[in-house]
């Protein structure tokens, strides 16, 4: 059946909009505003950081994307991020990333650790940025985050041309300092131009940021093994408690 490393099949091209669909009606806008005023929406008000960085598909690391993480910290060792493909209001929700400290990561079994990636390189090299925030404000936070590990599932492969979220969720990997982990220069240039920053300068100012005390051997699985992961979705007998559907 479905697999994260294979497109499920064609969809009608329509007008090319991603996603396709009619524009919002006035009635819907009014409904939305009404709901927004009456509901507290607490969980989503907890996001405290916007991070722009890059990621690659574990099953095909030649596919590299720019990501926008909206980060909610639950405690000193755990963060949860809603990931979008841009920071504009029409950004598409492309997945979720969880970030844990070195301490928490080391409690996970190796089979789980293989699904995670390190953040040290991405932060040290200046690829990971918080748009609009002065570097010096971030220094201590970056020092902490450089020692963390992340688990990132992508649910909408927009870069593949999917106009709706198709297929199985795909595991993502982080930029690294060697071959398949190196982010293409033109992607970085485009990002820098948009935010009027210079990734190379950030790298120089972050030279004293250190990664984990001991880089975990199972994270960034592809580096040692040359292997990635794809998710397949298979049909099985559902365990029931009542007839379905």
């Amino acid at each position: 059946m479905a697999s994260s490393d294979r497109s499920p099949g064609p969809m009608p091209p329509g007008n090319g909009a991603v996603p396709p669909g009619k524009p919002m009606t006035i009635g819907q806008h009014v409904l939305d505003k009404g709901a927004q005023m009456l509901q507290t929406l607490k969980p989503i008000k907890q996001m405290s950081q916007h991070v722009c960085t890059f990621a690659a598909y574990s099953h095909d690391m030649t596919r590299q994307i720019q990501t926008h993480h909206f980060v909610h910290r639950l405690n000193q060792d755990f963060l949860q991020c809603a990931v979008y493909d841009s920071d504009a209001p029409d950004a598409r929700l492309i997945g979720v990333e969880y970030i844990v400290s070195e301490r928490t990561f080391e409690t996970l079994p190796p089979e789980e650790q293989k699904l995670w990636h390190s953040h040290a390189h991405e932060i040290q090299s200046g690829l990971w940025v918080n748009p609009r925030v002065p570097e010096m404000v971030l220094k201590s936070e970056l020092n902490d985050l450089a020692k963390t590990y992340g688990k990132f599932w992508c649910t909408w492969q927009v870069d593949r041309g999917d106009r709706l979220p198709l297929g199985a969720p795909a595991l993502m990997m982080s930029p690294q300092e060697v071959n398949l982990g190196i982010v293409r220069a033109e992607l970085v240039k485009e990002r820098d131009r948009k935010y009027n920053i210079c990734t190379d300068d950030l790298k120089k100012s972050r030279v004293d940021i250190l990664g984990p005390e001991m880089m975990n051997p199972f994270a960034d699985y592809w580096k040692k093994t040359g292997k990635g992961f794809a998710n397949g979705i298979e049909q099985i007998q559902m365990k029931l408690r009542a007839p379905f559907p």
């Binding site: 919002m24 916007h50 809603a82 209001p89 929700l93 844990v100 936070e141 990635g228 408690r241 009542a242």
Partner: protein
């Protein structure tokens, strides 16, 4: 058999957030833009079950934003509180968009007809007549839900593979103690809502036979693949 509701906020392992970190994050929250998040305008409370196991059911708090009239994208949390865990995502599309999906994709999507007409899906805090204006639209839609954190088995962290989730399609599937708990907390009655929603209609073409996992179960399976191009990755012999 009653389902034990274990998603009662066991602590996520870790030290409490340090003051310095907190202060810094208050600053970033003020300085930075959060446009995609600001688009989220609606809280929906519903239940999902695992596509391979109907006996495992999860209360799901959806925070939704419209991409256009026919498509919403939602963040799913295990509670409506400020320490809620982000457990998954759901995409909601019109019947029209569902019909354009490749046949291989359709089973990953579920219908909302029963949940809406059964009173199970609702908008906390919004008066009935107001919410029904939106729910009558949701009644006709299809959703694709993926959970990453299996809080119902008390996982302290988001472990394992992503799970495709399904929605309830008829009476007798959803555990009563789960619904009674929600009804008590929110002061709502699913039964009363059913009468108010009797007028609503589902998809114009009826429920597509391939939707709702085509009536079967679905399971995620991890496969190792070769990095391409494989010969460019240095092998380190440990």
């Amino acid at each position: 058999m009653e389902e034990v509701n274990r998603s009662t906020h066991p602590e996520v392992p870790g030290e409490p957030t340090q003051t310095g970190t907190s202060i810094l994050e208050k600053a970033t929250a003020t300085i930075q833009g959060f446009h995609p998040i600001n688009k989220i305008h609606q809280h929906l409370c519903a239940f999902h079950f695992y596509a391979d196991d109907m006996t495992r059911q999860v209360e799901a708090h959806h925070y939704c934003g419209h991409q256009n009239e026919e498509m919403r994208q939602c963040l799913i949390y295990d509670s409506p509180e400020s320490d809620a865990r982000l457990i998954g995502v759901e995409y909601i599309i019109s019947e029209g968009l569902f019909m354009t999906l490749p046949d291989e994709e359709k089973p990953l999507w579920h219908t909302h007809l029963y949940e809406v007409k059964g009173g199970v899906l609702f908008m906390p805090g919004v008066p009935g007549p107001v919410q029904r204006k939106d729910l009558e639209k949701i009644c006709k839609t299809y959703g694709k839900t993926i959970h990453f954190w299996q809080v119902d088995r008390a996982d302290p962290l988001p472990l394992g593979l992503p799970q495709i989730m399904m929605a309830f399609t008829r009476e007798g599937q959803l555990y009563e103690n789960l619904t009674q708990d929600v009804e008590k907390r929110y002061g709502v009655s699913y039964h009363n809502e059913r009468e108010n929603r009797a007028y609503m209609e589902g998809p114009a073409h009826g429920i597509h036979p391939l939707a709702n996992a085509a009536g079967k179960g679905l399971k995620t399976v991890l496969k190792e693949t070769d990095c391409k191009p494989a010969d460019t990755v240095p092998r380190v012999f440990v």
